[in-house]
């Protein structure tokens, strides 16, 4: 079967190659596969694979168009939903540059001399993130924030060989599930510390009472399921370090344009979700796991994932980039590696680097301020409708919880009819919520009239 994606499938070319190899039939090349295992051509062609026949590109586009149309697509500006991924504006130049074929279709830069541009992009990603976080070492990416958290806990155990890690009660539930999967084979116990039901801030006394024989204390900052930016961050850092434990922070890179950074708060490891930096929602991925640590040789040695470094050519004539400290990685250290990760989220990291470069210092700060303003404005307007908004009265950024007067899922479903995707019914995801609680999110994509529109519709439901 000749196909445009398989150049040597041309019958004449194929025959000339088989002749040269010296076999009559392509099947001869499979003469070492047991007969019972070889699959019969007719059987294969009738398996449930695609439409059981090749399609041309026009047919495929029609089918895919139909698949995509058969969903309710909410305009970005009508989505008020977060919980670990948020609607953000992606500038046209970001997507354009990230689709350059030399990068999109490249492999991991094992041959650095011919991959300098790719390596420099990844180095710039590491550098830009390090400046936002004020952490000195950043790796070239993990899959997403959740898997980065799992890896951070494993790294902490490798560093101090302790088994107890404190986590906040209001941790992102998806992150918690992933952290459990990663740590369950390694005798690590994850113990929650309480959060004040009025402010949403961590309960310092509860942390202190649980802080013995610790590997690490983890703080989500802001908490993605309440939006609260914990005012006790510094105190938690100090408790962790008094107890010789690590302080691990999970961050939103955009909020750090306004709030204290992991560097300022003396975090040992910082992880984060890079999706807000120019990546689409795509029903869950691909996203970008940020992973950073301190300038500490022991920490860096235990760090998972790939690192790019700046150096020079051997003759010293030009700057150059290469993968560094590779002896931590699976292709060299095998079962002793710091992680099994190899394919990561490089293109997402490069996309984030392009996004940060395009917006620059002022542009990123604008985005952070826009998020702050819109979420605080919306909280105030919803409060004026008579709901408890925000439910927690601590400092919040972007997201907040509202207590409504009926099952929140019902409210959300009614608003779907107006083309609005209104938040997350918290009770479906976390054990500490009531069914009237909704988690709402606001970003730079929402104009004042978008927000006023949803407030208006909310009013009409009452």
């Amino acid at each position: 079967m000749e196909h445009e994606w398989i150049p040597n499938s041309n019958e004449q070319v194929k025959k000339s190659m088989l002749d040269y190899i010296g076999v009559k039939d392509v099947l001869d090349l499979y003469n070492d596969i047991p007969k019972q295992v070889l699959i019969d051509e007719e059987k294969w062609n009738n398996l449930d694979i695609g439409k059981k026949k090749p399609l041309d590109q026009i047919e495929v586009e029609k089918i895919m168009d139909n698949i995509l149309n058969n969903n309710k697509i909410f305009d970005e500006s009508k989505q008020f939903i977060g919980g670990g991924a948020w609607p953000h504006y992606v500038p046209a130049a970001v997507q354009y540059l990230a689709e350059r074929g030399e990068i999109l279709t490249a492999y991991t830069p094992y041959q650095p001399e011919i991959s300098q541009g790719l390596l420099q992009m990844l180095f710039e990603y590491q550098s830009l993130i390090s400046d936002i976080l004020e952490m000195d070492v950043v790796n070239a990416s993990m899959y997403d924030m959740a898997s980065a958290l799992g890896e951070a806990f494993l790294m902490s155990k490798r560093i101090n060989d302790k088994s107890k890690i404190l986590i906040p009660e209001t941790i992102n539930p998806f992150h918690l599930s992933v952290a459990k999967s990663y740590t369950s084979p390694h005798e690590i116990s994850l113990i929650s510390y309480k959060v004040d039901p009025n402010t949403g801030y961590s309960d310092i006394e509860d942390i202190k009472s649980k802080a013995d024989d610790l590997s690490a204390i983890y703080l989500e900052y802001p908490y993605q399921y309440t939006g609260i930016v914990d005012i006790n961050a510094k105190a938690i850092s100090e408790i962790a370090h008094e107890k010789n434990a690590l302080f691990i922070m999970g961050v939103n890179p955009l909020s750090l344009m306004l709030y204290k950074t992991p560097g300022e708060l003396n975090a040992d490891i910082a992880i984060g979700e890079g999706q807000p930096l120019g990546l689409g929602l795509n029903f869950g991925g691909p996203y970008l796991g940020i992973f950073a640590t301190k300038w500490n040789a022991e920490y860096v040695k235990q760090m998972p994932g790939r690192l790019i470094g700046m150096t020079t050519s051997i003759d010293g004539s030009s700057k150059a980039f290469a993968m560094i400290l590779q002896t931590r990685e699976q292709h060299i250290r095998r079962s002793k590696a710091t992680s099994n990760i190899t394919t990561n989220s490089s293109l997402s990291a490069i996309t984030a680097a392009i996004y940060i470069s395009l917006l620059g210092r002022k542009g990123l700060k604008d985005v952070a301020e826009s998020i702050w303003y819109r979420s605080h404005y919306a909280a105030k307007q919803i409060k004026s409708l008579g709901f408890k908004s925000p439910l927690f009265d601590g400092e919040f950024f972007g997201d907040f919880v509202v207590e409504f007067n009926e099952d929140f899922e019902k409210i959300r479903n009614k608003l779907i009819d107006f083309g609005i995707l209104f938040g997350i019914p918290l009770i479906q995801y976390v054990p500490w919520a009531k069914n009237s609680w909704g988690l709402l999110s606001f970003t730079e994509v929402h104009s004042k009239s978008d927000i006023d529109f949803v407030i208006d519709k909310l009013k009409s439901l009452r």
Binding site: P87, Q111, E113, Q116, R333, N340, L421
Partner: protein, 519 residues
């Protein structure tokens, strides 16, 4: 002649000139009038603005365009990296996978509003099950290594549920395996037992037999192996590992070698991960993101617990009564989630498009041509003295072949690395080198079905030309590459505690004397 661009492009920081980038100023003023200035508690306020570049849009576009011109992908030319399956990434799939309608779907959008997407994902689960001869697939894992970890965690759960986990703590892995296999087994809390490879290129069967014990939890196998050779006694291996109640895991990195010809499920494998960024044409993006679905053969675990109850991640199911596609989240026997949300859906839709276009006939053609390309290349290299073909004398290879530059090295001192730099100089990407570890001066070559006959011939000719140059003037290859953006790189400086520079910030702080050596 090939000559790669060299723009001597500064770092984005060095381009910073205080100009304005993209700003979404929107109507913050409107909000400000209502709310006043942003009020953040003093103790939470960031003290110093970050040292980020300030550059105009066209400067950023030129910067990244120039950098991309100093990179090399499948769109630039052949990338014959063995075990990486760098096939063509169809632009049709790019167009569809980057559609706005997909980009805008939030991961927690209600499933009743996503019937088109869920149906496609449901079909993809079924297609991958058909392709691998398995019963169930989860599309959740973010990459091959995460697929492996999913599999290893399932092996762990399986023995846990049967009450044997304290005993069953060893996973067997051949010495030709990808490094991710032992790393994944270790992440899943297992010890690893390494089995040597025999002369014919199979896992040493006697060594395998003697490694088995009541401690055996499973075996991770790559078939065809990293030598491109099919494991001839696979049916015996499967039978014996099952007798020990061990589970047989298939590393799908090399599936392209048997696509449409043999299926892991029919060979006795219990589980298999697939690398969609290899066999199913999703782009590798310079190191990811990928997608690593895991497929399994169902079996009874204990009482009424089935093996599919142990699958990690969300799975799409079809509710016959309600006529709705739904997501089933992992239950109590599953290891749980390995990343947030469903999976790398952009990659999944890309692979769906690829399979839809080719159909079973096209996939089979892809597998066959990949194998023909490998063996055609081997035949072209048959008369070469500088490169040998270790293991499996006389056997046909499948998706890839491992040549050894050891004869050339012994005669001239020219190494596999030197050879690879010579390939770069003529506009090819280099093969995977020094892997598998069992082959000296290894050159691991995989053309995939995407490479033209003409390019394979050019590649073989270049290898022979390099051999001739090495014999005439062994010093010349040590100077390569000369046609790439930079020449060989100072890796000592790159890794030395006093000069290591993982970020721009670290470099600046070291210059200022704030950071010392990283030791």
């Amino acid at each position: 002649m090939f000559k790669q661009a060299n723009w001597n492009e500064p770092l984005i920081y060095e381009l910073s000139n205080g100009r304005e980038g993209i700003r979404f100023k929107g109507n913050n003023e409107e909000f400000k009038q209502i709310l006043g200035d942003i009020s953040i508690p003093q103790s939470l306020k960031r003290e110093k603005e970050p040292e980020l570049p300030e550059v105009s849009e066209i400067e950023v576009v030129r910067h990244f365009t120039r950098l991309s011109e100093m990179a090399y992908g499948v769109d630039s030319g052949p990338v014959p990296l063995g075990s990486c399956t760098m096939k063509y990434n169809p632009k049709l799939s790019l167009k569809i996978a980057t559609d706005k309608r997909l980009a805008f779907i939030h991961p927690l959008q209600p499933e009743s509003t996503l019937q088109g997407l869920l149906k496609a994902l449901y079909e993809l689960q079924n297609w991958l099950a058909s392709i691998t001869g398995m019963d169930y697939c989860t599309l959740h894992p973010a990459a091959g290594a995460q697929g492996e970890l999913s599999g290893v965690l399932m092996i762990r759960k399986y023995h846990e549920i049967k009450g044997n986990i304290n005993l069953k703590d060893e996973i067997i892995i051949p010495d030709s395996a990808h490094g991710t296999n032992p790393a994944s087994a270790a992440m899943g809390g297992f010890k690893t037992i390494e089995i040597p490879t025999d002369e014919s290129g199979n896992m040493d069967y006697d060594a395998f037999l003697s490694s088995l014990s009541e401690r055996t939890a499973g075996l991770m196998l790559t078939n065809p192996s990293t030598l491109g050779l099919f494991e001839e006694r696979i049916l015996d291996v499967a039978k014996i590992i099952h007798e020990k109640d061990g589970l047989l895991y298939y590393d799908g990195a090399n599936l392209n070698g048997i696509l449409g010809k043999a299926r892991p499920g029919d060979m006795g494998f219990d589980m298999a991960h697939l690398n969609l960024h290899k066999t199913f044409s999703t782009p590798h993006g310079g190191g990811g993101p990928g997608a690593g679905p895991l497929c399994i053969k169902d079996r009874l675990v204990k009482d009424d617990i089935m093996f599919h109850d142990l699958l990690p991640g969300p799975i799409v199911i079809y509710d016959e009564k309600e006529k709705l596609y739904k997501i089933k989240w992992p239950g109590k026997y599953s290891p749980g989630l390995l990343k947030s949300f469903f999976g790398n859906v952009q990659q999944l839709i890309w692979a769906y498009t690829y399979i839809l276009t080719l159909g079973p006939q096209g996939l089979k053609e892809a597998g066959e041509i990949a194998v023909i390309n490998t063996n055609y290349f081997i035949k072209l290299m048959e008369d070469s003295k500088g490169y040998s073909l270790p293991y499996g004398n006389g056997r046909f290879r499948k998706h890839e072949v491992v040549l050894s530059a050891e004869p050339l090295h012994e005669e001239t001192g020219v190494t596999a690395e030197d050879v690879s730099k010579g390939l770069l100089d003529s506009g090819f990407y280099a093969p995977t080198i020094y892997f598998p570890l069992i082959v000296k001066e290894a050159l691991m070559i995989e053309f995939t079905e995407s490479e033209t006959k003409e390019n394979i011939e050019r590649f073989a000719n270049r290898l022979k030309e390099i051999e001739e140059i090495a014999k005439k003037n062994p010093n010349e290859p040590k100077q390569w590459p000369i046609n790439t953006t930079v020449r060989r790189i100072d890796m000592v400086k790159a890794n030395h505690p006093k000069t290591i520079t993982p970020t721009y910030r670290a470099g600046i702080l070291r210059q200022k004397g704030i950071l010392g050596p990283l030791r």
